[in-house]
Amino acid sequence: MSPAIFEQAGIVIAVILCSIAVKLIDDFLDNDRDSLAGCYNFSKILGNGIIVYGMLSLSIAASINASVSIPLFLVSYSIGMFTDFKKTFISGLSGLQESLLVFSLGVILWGWQCMLFSLFFVFSLQLFDDYLDIYTDQLAGYRNLAHRIGKVECLLLSILTLCTAWWINEHLFPAVLLGTAIVYSALLYYQRGR
């Protein structure tokens, strides 16, 4: 295998593991809400150990390619916090403050390009997910982005942010998209089948 293919394969695997880590941590945090809405949640299978598997998955992802997986995780955390931007967390900071702090830390550690690419990519994915889950989230009593800004606006903004991420880092984009698409399709297949 040539080094270029090996590098791209490494990025895909790192993104897959990072996505799994984000999904497991998200399921751990949203366990109560998903139970109310009747949505499938991995906490049912893994129990409290879900957070440990999330950490393990992130550690392996970081070992394979830290410069891709860590910015993606930091941005996922920032965007996750930003949705609860008024709520005060254990740190004593509001969601908005935590979100900005984590993003700034990411910029200092990994540079603007990595963090901006991750920001646009993850935000695009968040918008697309909200577009697909608009009715499920409404059932759970949660007004997601598609509900707040409109379905078509959400989809168009998702395409726009995805293209912007591609424009920021053309070299990284195909492998990151492939890794995310694999995990996302597997999750859709697994969750919709139940």
Binding site: G150, V152, E153, L156, I159, L160, C163, W166
Partner: protein
């Protein structure tokens, strides 16, 4: 190429937002004008006037 797509999608999004907002304002104006007439028409069909709240008697046309 990518920049062209970004500009195109941005334009589409802005056009959609502008059209939606414009449609909402226009629709509200049309609704405000049409609603009293529609209500009156429906109430007269059901045999009363929504304005004076009196029963309407059908008179044969001469």
């Amino acid at each position: 190429m990518l920049l062209t797509i970004i500009i195109s999608v941005s334009t589409l999004l802005l056009g959609y937002l502008w059209g939606k907002q414009n449609g909402r304002v226009e629709g509200y104006k049309c609704g405000t004008v049409d609603l009293p007439l529609l209500l009156r028409e429906q109430s007269l069909e059901q045999g009363y006037c929504v304005l004076c709240n009196e029963q309407v008697q059908n008179k044969p046309s001469s």
